[in-house]
Point group: C2
Chain length 233, copies 2
C-alpha cells in the first residue's frame, strides 16, 4: 500500500488478515513493488482494476442489478481505474439490457472522461479529491476498451456535490458510504433529479471504507455551512 | 420535549418543521404540558406509544414484513412504551402468521418484561441506558394488552451487547442505527446466533436518530477495548 493510504483502510486490511507492505507514494513504484514481491515470493498478483478476473468479479454486480432492478433505464457507476464500470457495463450490455451506463468522476480527476474523448488511455494530472478512492489518473487497457464499447459517457461532479451526497446518504438514508461511493448520487442529483422525462436511475454505492470520525466532521461542517432551510423540501 | 432530550433529536424535529416546547425532565409533567397545550390551543395530541392511531401506524411495518419476508419464523422488536411491538405483533398475528414475536429491552429497564410477569402494567425504576430511546419505565394500557395477547416474551440485553450490535451494524453493515434500534440485533446475537434448530429471525431496526460524533466515539472506544482478534471469524 502507498505510505499515504488512509489509516482506516490499512487497519481494515489488517483486520481481514492482510500483511501490509508499504511503498513510496507513487503508483509506478507500487506496481514495481508488487511485481518484485510476486517474483521473490511466488505470490499471485490481483490487480486493483485492470485484470480480467477483477473485472469479471466486479461484473457480478451487473447480474444482481438485472435480477433486482430489471426496470432500470440508467446506471451510474463511480470510476477510478474503471474496473467496476467495465465489469458492470459489460455484463449489462452483453445480457441485452437496453439502458445507458454512465461513469462518474470528480471534476478534478476526469481520467476516463478525457481518455474517451481522446480515444485512448490518457494520463491526467494527479489531483487530490475528497473522494479518495477515485484517484487513478489513467484508466487501464482492458477497462478503457470495455468502457469505450459500453459506457455512454462520464459525468463529472464537484467536490461540494460529493460531500453533499455523502452527508445526505448518511443523515437521511442512514447509510455509511465513503465519498467515492457517494459520487454516483451526486451525479444523480446534478444530472437527473427533477429532469424531464423522468427516468429510472440506479446509483451504485461503492464502498464504505470511511473513518467515521472524519465522516462525522464532514457532516457537521456541511450542516454548519447550510442555511437554516429545512433539509426536506 | 423533556429538557434533557438529545440535542440531535431536538434539531431533527426542528428541521422537520416542529415548534419545540420544553418541559421538566419528568414524563408526568410532559403529559400534563401536552394536555394543557391541547386545551389552550386546540392542538391534537399524538401519543408517542399508547394511542390506537400510533399503534396502527406502527403496525404497517407488520404488513411490509409479511410482504417482504413471509418465511420469517421469529421477529424481534425493541420495546420502550410498547407501541411498535403492539402494532407489529397485532398485524402479524391477526393476519394468520404463525411465527413468534419477542420484545427486546435493556436489562436495566425491563418494564414490559416485568409487566407481563405480573399480569398488569407495572412501573419499574427509571434507569439510564445507552439505548436512550428505550427508557419508558411502564407500558401503556393498550400496548400492554396487545403485548399480553400477541408477544411471546421479552428478551433482555446488556449495555455492552447493545453497544456491540450498534458498532457491528455501523462498521460491517454500514448502517447508522441508534443503540435503541440495534437492541434487536443484540438479542439476535445473544439468543439465536449459532443455536439449534436454526430459525429465520427478523430483527427490526428502529431508528436512526443518533448524533454521529457520539456514534464515532462509541465505535472507537469499543474497538479499543476489543482484543487484536479479527472482526470476522
Amino acid at each position: 500500500m502507498l505510505e499515504r493510504s488512509a489509516p482506516n483502510k490499512v487497519e481494515a486490511a489488517r483486520r481481514y488478515g492482510a500483511e501490509i507492505v508499504f511503498c513510496e507514494n507513487d503508483f509506478a513504484v507500487r506496481t514495481a513493488t508488487v511485481e518484485r514481491l510476486s517474483r521473490e515470493q511466488g505470490k499471485v498478483i490481483v490487480p486493483s482494476f485492470d485484470g480480467e478476473g477483477t473485472i469479471r468479479g466486479n461484473g457480478t454486480l451487473g447480474f444482481e442489478l438485472l435480477e433486482q432492478l430489471p426496470a432500470a433505464e440508467v446506471v451510474l457507476v463511480p470510476v477510478s481505474g474503471g474496473g467496476l464500470v467495465a465489469g458492470v457495463s459489460a455484463v449489462l450490455k452483453q445480457s441485452g439490457w437496453r439502458g445507458r451506463i454512465y461513469g462518474v468522476q470528480p471534476e478534478v480527476n476526469p481520467s476516463l472522461k478525457v481518455s474517451l474523448e481522446r480515444g485512448e488511455p490518457t494520463t491526467v494530472p494527479n489531483a487530490a479529491t475528497v473522494a479518495d478512492g477515485l484517484v487513478a489518473n489513467r484508466p487501464g487497457k482492458l477497462t478503457f476498451a470495455l468502457a469505450q464499447q459500453y459506457v455512454e459517457d462520464v459525468l463529472l461532479v464537484s467536490e461540494e456535490e460529493i460531500v453533499e451526497a455523502t452527508v445526505q446518504l448518511l443523515e437521511e438514508e442512514k447509510l455509511v458510504v465513503e465519498p467515492s461511493g457517494a459520487a454516483s448520487v451526486a451525479a444523480l442529483v446534478r444530472y437527473f433529479a427533477g429532469k424531464q422525462p423522468a427516468q429510472k436511475v440506479v446509483a451504485v454505492l461503492s464502498g464504505g471504507n470511511v473513518e467515521l470520525g472524519r465522516l462525522a466532521n464532514m457532516a457537521k461542517e456541511h450542516r454548519r455551512q447550510q442555511t437554516a432551510a429545512p433539509v426536506r423540501s
